[in-house]
């Protein structure tokens, strides 16, 4: 074995992790090459130094202080623990299934009936095509009321706002998700927006009702990322609701918890929201349709799954 190969095995040799023949090869190379021997000795001393001085014992009273905190904990429960680990993905599957059932159960028998408003699925689930992803859906397409794909209105014909006259409430009713039928209270009205960062003031921002083209999964730090997200939404003139459109109360999240939320921001602040999300944590899924960012300053729903 020459010095090059031996050099790459010094660490494994130090750990005794080499097969016998390779270990002998390293020893032979070191006996031939003093520089390699010196390199090995330097490596060994560095590792010894770290092994000797690296470990730190817990401070005195650590366990006692922990017990005080544990005393405030409810008794451990397998059910609670299991529920805590139920991933929101599966909740998402159930939600998507429920929406699909709703489609099947309320499908209009008369093809001449005007098309009702599109529905936004409550959450994205694994295995379900991501309608926000260019890979899953052709650009410019959205789920229509029949569950198929329909063209998103071009920029020249912006999407219909909720308050528009596209369909009467009675016609839309069967096709609307719970959160859409039962909007938050007036102070968080679906059709009211406030000023955003660097944005113009608007008192009546129409809500853009089409499948949200923006979905993010944010791996956030801290104990209360929802609170942080609320501050972000607020700073952008937006608001945050849960998967059903209800106002969301923040709560400390445990490690591994996730929560699906929807943030409504004026469309001109969606890009700012992207940036803020990156500051909040690691964003590992971004699906955007930039063409829709600038449509009439409409209020845009952005689906976010916050994971801690």
């Amino acid at each position: 074995m020459d010095s090059f190969f031996a050099r790459n095995r010094l660490s494994a040799y130090l750990d005794g992790d080499l097969p016998q023949d390779e270990a002998r090869g390293v020893e032979a190379a070191m006996s031939r090459d003093p520089a390699l021997r010196a390199e090995y000795e330097e490596l060994r001393r560095a590792v010894d130094f770290l092994r000797t001085n690296g470990p730190i014992a817990a401070p005195e009273g650590f366990a006692n202080r922990l017990h005080i905190r544990l005393a405030a904990e409810p008794p451990p429960s397998r059910l609670r623990s299991t529920l805590r680990r139920v991933r929101m993905d599966y909740v998402g599957i159930a939600a998507v299934a429920a929406v699909a059932l709703l489609f099947v159960g309320t499908r209009h028998p008369d093809p001449a009936t005007p098309a009702p408003a599109p529905v936004i699925a409550a959450a994205q689930a694994p295995g379900v095509p991501d309608t926000s992803s260019p890979a899953a859906v052709a650009p410019g397409a959205a789920i229509d009321h029949e569950g198929g794909f329909a063209a998103i209105p071009s920029p020249a014909s912006p999407p219909k706002p909720k308050s528009g006259a596209s369909a009467s409430p009675a016609e839309r009713e069967p096709f609307q998700a719970d959160w859409e039928r039962d909007p938050p209270a007036a102070d968080g009205s679906l059709t009211t927006g406030t000023s955003g960062q660097g944005a113009t003031q608007s008192t009546a921002v129409p809500t853009l009702y089409s499948p949200a083209p923006w979905r993010y999964r944010v791996h956030a730090g801290g104990t209360n990322p929802l609170k942080d997200l609320m501050e972000v939404a607020s700073s952008l003139g937006g608001r945050i609701v849960d998967g059903k459109g209800r106002p969301l109360a923040d709560y400390p999240m445990d490690e591994g918890d996730s929560q699906s939320v929807r943030v409504y921001v004026p469309s001109y602040n969606v890009e700012a929201l992207q940036r803020k999300l990156k500051e909040l944590g690691t964003v590992d899924t971004i699906a955007t349709d930039p063409e829709m960012l600038y449509q009439n300053g409409a209020e845009v729903p952005v689906s976010i799954e916050v994971q801690r």
């Binding site: 660490s11 750990d15 092994r51 001085n53 470990p55 730190i56 904990e73 609670r80 730090g221 944590g281």
Partner: protein, 211 residues
């Protein structure tokens, strides 16, 4: 009682094993809260030590380490034993450390810059060499501690993480691979590079012969 005593004492030539981690988990899952005390006793130094080295902040390390045990306490009833308890503990600890650091970085905490950016305040310049003796005899504990902190602060995060698991926590390649979701070969090569970087940092700081 007698068994408990036996488990705490080892005689030459006769090794009496204490309860395994799996035993403790099983007891805890059947309502024995004292089993959790034993888990804390068994892992508190490792968890705290990892937090302390990762965060380089005693207060934050204790808070994070306690959060880790609280999370374990809550989650242990649902632990299915698909991995070793130790793997799970270290995984949770690393996640908590990363989250804690993200949290404090967002709030402008930059202690690590003090360590790396102003080494002269923390690490002894050439003091080890000046003693003219080997590390074991010459380095005072405080100086060695400062040097460890300095050296770890110089490493990139991947290297620091893997060295803490391998050379401080003394974990096997396989367990490190499970914790970091890395194949064994990657673990080995990364350890090799991390150690080489550590050796270079120490050599620059105190001289090759004085490590």
């Amino acid at each position: 009682m007698f068994l408990a005593l036996l488990s705490a004492v080892s005689f030459p030539g006769l090794r009496v094993a204490g309860p395994t981690d799996a035993d403790l988990v099983d007891r805890f899952q059947h309502g024995d809260r004292r089993a959790f005390d034993e888990i804390v006793r068994r892992y508190q130094d490792k968890v705290y030590g990892l937090c302390r080295r990762w965060l380089d902040d005693a207060e934050g390390a204790e808070e994070t380490a306690q959060d880790v045990f609280i999370a374990l306490y809550r989650s242990l009833p649902g632990f299915r034993g698909e991995s070793q308890l130790s793997t799970w503990v270290f995984k949770v600890t690393l996640n908590h450390c990363k989250n804690h650091r993200l949290y404090r970085n967002r709030r402008g905490y930059r202690r690590h810059e003090t360590i790396g950016g102003k080494p002269e305040e923390d690490a002894p310049e050439r003091q080890l060499a000046d003693d003219g003796a080997g590390t074991d005899s010459a380095v005072h504990r405080g100086e060695a501690e400062a040097l460890v902190r300095f050296a770890l602060a110089q490493l990139d995060e991947e290297h620091r993480q893997i060295l803490l698991l391998r050379d401080v926590e003394d974990l096997a390649y396989e367990e490190i691979g499970d914790i970091l979701d890395l194949p064994r070969g990657t673990v080995k090569s990364r350890i090799h590079r991390a150690r080489a970087e550590l050796a270079a940092v120490l050599a620059r700081k105190i001289g090759r012969e004085d490590i």
